[in-house]
Amino acid sequence: MGEMREPTYFVLAALLDGPLHGYAIIQRAAEISDNRVRLATGTLYTALDRLTAEGFVRLVSEEVINGRARRSYGLTDSGAAALTAEAARMEQAAAVVTGRLRHQDAAVSRGRGRECPA
């Protein structure tokens, strides 16, 4: 799998703590992304279909609530591995920027120190 899209990333991340049903995934994804990722129902099921076909997510249980089927989905081992790999990739990408910024900040601080005689 190549680079993961943000909704896909948060759907998988939402399942890290255990299986959830459709609306609970939407809520959890919004919660862990500080309300940045608000999945529409159609988008969620498109993602779930794809992730199930790829073996990253599996159907864990099915119950009938108010006469309607409610399915819960869980993360598979390969889904967890893909999520971990994506997190590591993003961490590495972020480190390129944060490391450079820290370096610049340190250089600026040293420069100020030299300008101000004791």
Partner: protein
């Protein structure tokens, strides 16, 4: 059934029937929870996303096919497009020039049967059970091979190749994507037969 549930199910019509049978209840449940109380319609964002997702399913875009299935689908589409020309030729002739070209009505009926049988194979190839489709394709090829007029020999033989291709593909086990591709054959046949039926007859000298 509440108004919102009725509207949700109405929106779900955009998904193909097989998908609705499998997932409609679950999606409606999620839509109702997402909409919250005192609403009669899902949010515009949910409605929009649902329509797009349904169209994606209909287009077969979310289905990951194996390499073999992709090859099968491409070959089937090519065979269907080729057959559409022959089917259109027969139906167009029957529709537009009934009684003018054919020395007897038997030939006209044969062309009508050939055109319709070919059309049925073109559609059935996307859905039908493999063995039945293969048998129908072979039977239609035999019908094509039986062309009473010598000067139509080429026209009789040419459709046999795509029909044979469909028969072979029907016996292969790769699963095709459920999509609207089956409409390509009838659509092409209709447009081609209409244009042929309405074209002016050649000079009879």
């Amino acid at each position: 059934m509440t108004a919102i549930e009725r509207h949700c199910r109405w929106l779900l019509v955009v998904y193909p029937r097989w998908y609705r049978e499998e997932r409609a209840d679950e999606i409606v449940d999620t839509l109702l929870e997402a909409a919250g109380p005192n609403r009669s319609w899902p949010s515009s964002k949910d409605a929009r996303a649902l329509i797009l997702a349904g169209l994606r399913v209909r287009a077969g875009m979310q289905q990951r096919l194996t390499a073999g299935a992709n090859v099968k689908q491409a070959l089937l589409l090519a065979a269907v497009l080729l057959l559409a020309e022959y089917s259109a030729s027969d139906l167009g002739i029957v529709g537009g020039e009934w009684g003018r070209i054919f020395p007897s009505m038997l030939f006209a009926w044969l062309n009508l049967v050939l055109g319709l049988a070919t059309l049925a194979v073109m559609v059935g190839a996307w859905f039908g059970p493999g063995r039945i489709v293969a048998a129908a394709a072979i039977a239609t090829a035999c019908l094509w091979a039986y062309q009473p007029s010598d000067n139509q020999l080429d026209r009789a033989i040419q459709p046999i190749a795509p029909l044979g291709c469909i028969a072979i593909l029907a016996l292969r086990r790769e699963r095709l994507a459920r999509s609207w591709l089956w409409l390509v054959g009838p659509a092409r046949t209709s447009s081609a037969s209409l244009s042929r039926g309405s074209s002016p007859p050649p000079d009879s000298g």
